[in-house]
């Protein structure tokens, strides 16, 4: 997918779809969001040519900051080849004509749904998250007038009530995704539904992290090198998920794995959720214990494309 799609740029639309006024409005919102890390800034969200819940918030941010020299990568649950990722990538190819890539280190702009790439991001990259529900307190306090006050006055006891409930019912904190974080020792923020495995990557990340919620019309941000702490109790510290076996295809350890069902007899394997990371490792000669079977059932083609 590294081939450039110059031929299909659609001149009917403004560069990157949104009109320049809207982009400017969103960039102003972004500046404010970066100035107050973790604070949800309302913005005039536009109708996008896709349904809410498919990344309209992330797309609006990407459209506002993308430039002709950018290289865009889009991932959905870590993979470059899922429906959401493919359609958003094609959308930007069509309306902006920018280069796209699946390789994390070649991208200058990465739009993501529900994952942070395994590879450490750099200061020259921007990570844009798609956020379905920006308010971490909404399940406990449905009134927005009240949640805004809770943020304004740092009244965050309620967030721990949720964690208390987890421990009292299940013996441990069972929140495994969208695990609330405290940003810059001030605001409590939803990290979007990334697995809590990825939470530690947010802390002191060299790349700028931007979050867009289209339906709720909120934008928030974590500037580079910002403190991000996952909430916990003194006697029940925050922990990330651990996997017993390495990736079945590339043998990677210490990465987030997805379960893949292989047949209707219950055969399954765990593979890297980050498809680019997995492909790169296989290309470098790493092989997991199911690498040969996976090729034989067509799960991985000989070129390494899933």
């Amino acid at each position: 997918m590294n081939s450039q799609a110059f031929h299909s740029v659609d001149g009917t639309y403004n560069f990157a779809y949104l009109d320049e006024q809207t982009k400017r409005m969103i960039r102003r919102t972004l500046l404010k969001a970066i100035a107050v890390p973790g604070y949800q800034v309302p913005f005039g969200g536009r109708e996008m040519p896709m349904a809410y819940g498919w990344g309209t918030g992330g797309i609006q941010i990407t459209a506002s900051i993308i430039g002709k020299d950018d290289t865009l990568k889009v991932i959905d649950q870590g993979a470059d080849d899922t429906t959401n990722a493919v359609s958003i990538r094609r959308f930007f190819q069509r309306v902006s004509g920018v280069k796209t890539t699946e390789e994390t280190q070649k991208a200058t702009l990465i739009q993501t749904r529900h994952r942070i790439p395994e590879k450490q991001l750099t200061e020259n990259q921007i990570l844009v998250y798609q956020v379905p529900q920006p308010e971490p307190l909404w399940k406990l306090e449905p009134r927005e007038v009240e949640t805004r006050k809770l943020h304004a006055y740092s009244e965050y006891g309620l967030m721990h009530v949720k964690l208390y409930e987890d421990i009292s019912r299940h013996g441990e904190i069972i929140t495994t995704y969208d695990y609330p974080v405290e940003v810059n020792a001030r605001h409590i923020m939803s990290p979007s539904p990334i697995p809590k495995f990825d939470n530690p990557k947010m802390a002191m990340m060299p790349a700028l992290q931007l979050f867009g919620a289209g339906r709720e019309k909120r934008i928030y941000a974590i500037p580079p090198y910002t403190r991000v702490r996952s909430l916990d109790f003194d006697d029940h510290p925050f922990e990330i998920q651990r996997f017993e076996d390495p990736c079945a295809l590339c043998g990677a350890e210490g990465v987030f794995l997805d379960e893949v069902i292989l047949d209707d007899k219950g055969d399954h394997m765990f593979v890297c959720s980050d498809s680019d990371h997995c492909r790169e490792r296989r290309a470098a000669g790493h092989a997991g214990h199911r690498a040969s079977d996976a090729a034989s059932i067509g799960f991985v083609s000989s070129e390494g494309e899933a």
């Binding site: 406990l140 006891g157 009530v161 208390y164 409930e165 421990i167 009292s168 003194d234």
Partner: protein, 257 residues
């Protein structure tokens, strides 16, 4: 002795000129229980709203001894200061437990919330404290993880009380604490409240239309009618020898079982 709460000519009119209450003045001292009685619409709940910081009075001043540093006008405090007061030094027991509890959070979580709100971050300690308070309000410890909606009305009311007392408030406001409970449950709740108020030395303002409740709980009584206080005095004195015609009517209207 220093007053804990002071109301000076407190009055409130709703938009449209509808009178809530008018010219109410009193002082409440630490450990004292003040009863406010009157018929429906007499302004009791409006007064309670003004006193408890939920409703800014249109006239008069409400002062509270914030942090033991002398009386301060409650409505001149900044909103975060007032909210801190409301979840630490104060407690409000609502008539309907649904208004005072989080119905989708376990009894233990409800009781622990105030501790977490002031920074408790040790699960074990929070849980022990919640268990301790639930036991003190006679909720079996086996129910600590159950949702309040699985509790009876009387139990819900007791969880609400535990949820407030856990932060060791100096003043609690009660709005018809026994409303909607049957008489035997009422009696046990009152007994419990009386014990707790006496043991902890917490001051209280109890608003009710039930004279039996104030007879049991309160030291002093205010009788309200049409937004004004018509009679005040020691509880037994007002109930046994009412002076104002309305108080006499109120006392004589109680059905004898």
């Amino acid at each position: 002795m220093k007053a804990l709460l002071e109301a000076e000519s407190v009055g409130h009119s709703y938009p449209g000129g509808q009178l809530g209450c008018e010219d109410v003045s009193f002082r409440l001292y630490p450990g004292e229980v003040l009863g406010v009685v009157g018929e429906s619409g007499s302004g009791k709940s409006t007064l309670l709203g003004c006193l408890s910081g939920m409703l800014e009075p249109s006239n008069g001043i409400v002062r509270f001894d914030v942090g033991g540093q002398g009386l301060r006008d409650v409505f001149s405090l900044s909103e975060p200061e007032r909210r801190l007061l409301m979840r630490t030094d104060w407690g409000i027991v609502r008539q309907n437990p649904r208004d005072g509890l989080r119905m989708n959070v376990s009894a233990g979580g409800n009781v622990g919330e105030r501790l977490m709100a002031v920074g408790a971050r040790n699960y074990g300690n929070i849980r022990n404290e919640a268990l301790d308070w639930l036991t003190r309000v006679e909720i079996p410890s086996s129910r600590v993880d159950d949702l309040p909606r699985t509790f009876s009305g009387g139990m819900q009311q007791r969880v609400q009380i535990a949820r407030i007392l856990v932060s060791k408030p100096r003043l609690i406001f009660m709005d018809e604490p026994t409303g909607g409970l049957d008489v035997s449950v009422q009696a046990r709740l009152l007994d419990l409240l009386r014990g707790l108020v006496r043991d902890l030395g917490v001051a209280a303002v109890v608003v009710t239309h039930d004279l039996a409740v104030v007879r049991l709980l309160s030291d002093r009584l205010m009788v309200m009618r049409q937004g004004r206080v018509v009679e005040t005095g020691l509880t037994d004195q007002v109930l046994d020898d009412p002076q104002h015609p309305y108080s006499q009517l109120l006392v004589s209207s109680v059905l004898q079982a």
